[in-house]
């Protein structure tokens, strides 16, 4: 909608803004590009490459197969999938009915429960780590999938999110359902849940990304590679390979970051919404 005399101004403005945006984009992309370049570089060249971006010979095959064979990368990823799926399933089972109860049903303890949820929103997981760790240690449950998942079965954020989402769900539809003869459980199952698909998708993205990428808790409760999640595996892998094989290391890094990046590229909209639903967590 440029006005005629302003056209040149706009052009200059757009050139300047592109310049800064590209500079920023370069900064953002630098590690990704270098990760990919190094992951296809022969080992001999890694140490001499300097700033030379183009590998002289192509060693992707060696590096990637090494990354997959020298460490149980696939095992880590499988662990990651299991852990994330387990966490998400329990979170949804708890949070959807809980959110509905807080949003649409009136019972005496409701304000107290909601108050606890709000309080929980401000408490980072690191605060509860010590006692939960001690309990798990005393129950001999360290180094299990259960231990990795346990603290996250409760997602106060999930309960809060679904409560907010259901709060804006028209009360009239629920009234109509009650008149039609739905029980409250059926309202959740047949009315509320189908309508909450976008919220569920967004929450799933949020939950999966944060637990796929989490390092702190797995680092505490697992010491073996058997149950290590991808970030922990990455750490173990790096400690084994200290300084010696950057090509394979970068290939490993590429492999464990790839799933989420691919999902992100394919389903950007849902992904962004899922992650930005909260800044706190």
């Amino acid at each position: 909608m440029a006005r005629a005399p302003l056209r040149t101004d706009r052009l200059i403005g757009s050139v300047i803004s592109h310049f800064f945006l590209m500079l920023g984009a370069g900064f953002i992309l630098l590690p990704f590009v270098w990760m990919l370049l190094t992951s296809i570089r022969p080992a001999s060249e890694v140490f001499t490459a300097g700033f030379n971006p183009i590998p002289s010979s192509f060693a992707a095959g060696t590096n990637y197969s090494e990354a997959l064979t020298k460490s149980p990368l696939l095992q880590y990823m499988w662990n990651g999938v299991l852990v994330c799926a387990g966490i998400l399933a329990v979170q949804l089972l708890v949070a959807i009915p809980g959110g509905y109860a807080l949003a649409k049903l009136s019972f005496r303890a409701q304000p107290v429960v909601f108050g606890l949820v709000l309080f929980g929103l401000t408490v980072p997981v690191q605060v509860t780590a010590l006692p939960i760790y001690i309990a798990l240690a005393n129950l001999n449950l360290l180094n299990t999938y259960f231990a990795i998942m346990l603290p996250f079965f409760l997602s106060v954020f999930g309960i809060f999110l679904f409560r907010q989402f259901f709060k804006s769900f028209p009360q009239e539809i629920i009234h109509a359902a009650r008149l039609d003869g739905f029980t409250e459980a059926e309202i959740i199952l047949r009315i509320i849940t189908p309508s909450a698909v976008p919220a569920i998708a967004a929450f799933a993205v949020f939950s999966i990304t944060s637990h796929w990428n989490d390092l702190y808790w797995p680092l505490i409760v697992t010491t073996s590679a058997d149950h290590a999640t991808p970030p922990l595996g990455m750490m173990i892998f790096r400690d084994q390979e200290t300084g010696s094989n950057y090509g394979a290391l970068m290939a490993g890094a590429a492999i464990i970051t790839a799933p989420l990046i691919l999902v992100f590229l394919f389903a950007q909209r849902q992904f962004v919404r899922g992650i930005t639903m909260t800044g706190v967590k």
């Binding site: 539809i173 009234h175 009650r178 039609d180 003869g181 199952l189 009315i191």
Partner: protein, 388 residues
């Protein structure tokens, strides 16, 4: 029989009294409208009748039987919501069959997957589908059955919502501002369609609206509500011609009734310089409000008949009729006069200056200081002439 009886309903939200001892008797097959400004408690009454909200005290009877202890689904009432409240993820057919599914299948049969194992289920579902088809045909929405609510226009959604309430053959239809989400043209059309539907079904309708035109045009009787009470219950024409209260007079009718304040004297009511020969039962020297409908004023004052002096401030010409806005000469109080185009054209030149407006005292409505109607002699005679 499904006559409906409300006795002494009261309800408060916190410290706000939304219903204040409301009693109402609705005849079987009647179209009764609850009308009032937002927050007057009219929608709450509907939800109490449906059992969606509990009353604090009082009782609801349908067909002579108290339903206070019944859950909403057991009361056999259907409700059409302002937002239509269609299930967004279900097709039109599914939406319409839902009340019947819930009535006729037990909990196990309703379960997803497992429910399909029941042999009874298929039989019941076929029966329901046939009934839904019948209703859909009546409402001319049979072509929409496979669509989702999001793919429908406002008017179509409205019909689906009606259909959903019709399939269960309820004793009472409760309608909560069902037309307020439609555009003006469609609203006028649906008004006629709804009254037509009421006539065909012959079932009790309780209709809630804030729009006095809907109340006037559709109902057998209208209950005008204010602050949780019924102010007046009567036929539309009763409310228009014989309002019992200033609030009713103001609410019903568009353009709004003109209210001028006057003082009672032995000879009549003095409004500014003018003396209107209206004798009321209250003592002289009292301040009263005189209500004059825009058609009770005229541009041709007959000599000897009462008139008031006013000056024209604005003309609103709607083509078919003209609203003339005046300011009363002494007090500046606004008056609206409704004239035909011909009358207006005829008097156009005269209107430039201050004019005398004829007042048809027989149609004047007098209200005392508390806003209650006060009857007057000239009025009583007129009453007979008012069409029912």
């Amino acid at each position: 029989m499904s006559h409906l009886e409300l006795t002494g309903l009261s309800k408060s939200f916190g410290t706000t009294r939304v219903l204040n001892d409301v009693s109402l008797s609705v005849r079987d097959g009647e179209f009764l409208t609850l009308v009032g400004a937002s927050g007057c408690g009219k929608s709450t009454i509907l939800r109490v009748i449906a059992g969606l909200e509990p009353q604090d005290s009082g009782s609801v009877q349908i067909g002579g039987r108290s339903v206070d202890h019944l859950r909403p689904k057991q009361r056999n009432v259907a409700m059409v919501f302002q937002s239509y409240a269609l299930y967004p993820h279900m097709s039109v057919a599914e939406n319409m069959s839902m009340p019947l599914v819930m009535q006729r299948l037990n909990l196990a049969e309703r379960l997803p997957l497992i429910g399909r194992l029941s042999p009874n289920r298929r039989r019941v579902m076929t029966g329901i589908a046939a009934e839904v088809d019948t209703v859909a045909r009546q409402l001319q929405i049979e072509a929409l059955l496979t669509r989702k609510p999001a793919q429908l226009s406002g008017g179509q959604r409205q019909r689906v919502a009606l259909g959903r309430s019709m399939v269960r053959h309820p004793d009472v239809f409760l309608m909560d501002e069902p037309l307020s989400n439609l555009d003006a043209k469609l609203r006028v059309h649906m008004r006629a369609e709804l009254t037509d539907l009421h006539r065909r079904l012959g079932v009790t309708f309780i209709y809630v609206t804030h729009d006095q035109v809907e109340a006037m045009t559709m109902s057998d009787r209208v209950a005008l509500m204010d602050e949780g009470r019924i102010v007046q219950l009567g036929t539309p024409s009763d409310l228009y011609h014989n309002p019992s209260d200033l609030r009713v007079a103001r609410f019903i009718g568009s353009p709004q009734i003109n209210i001028v304040s006057g003082t009672t004297t032995g000879q009549g009511i003095r409004v500014g310089e003018a003396l209107l020969p209206i004798t009321v039962s209250c003592p002289a020297g009292q301040v009263v409000s005189v209500g004059l409908r825009p058609e009770a004023l005229s541009l041709d004052p007959v000599a000897g008949r009462p008139h008031v002096a006013a000056r024209l401030t604005r003309v609103e010409n709607l083509g078919a009729e003209v609203f003339l806005h005046f300011a009363l000469q002494e007090s500046g109080a606004p008056l609206v006069l409704r004239a035909t185009l011909q009358d207006y054209e005829r008097h156009k030149t005269r209107l430039e200056a201050a004019v005398a407006l004829g007042v048809e005292c027989a149609r004047a409505l007098v209200f005392d200081g508390a806003g209650h109607r006060v009857d007057h002699a000239s009025r009583a005679a007129q009453r007979v002439a008012v069409p029912a």
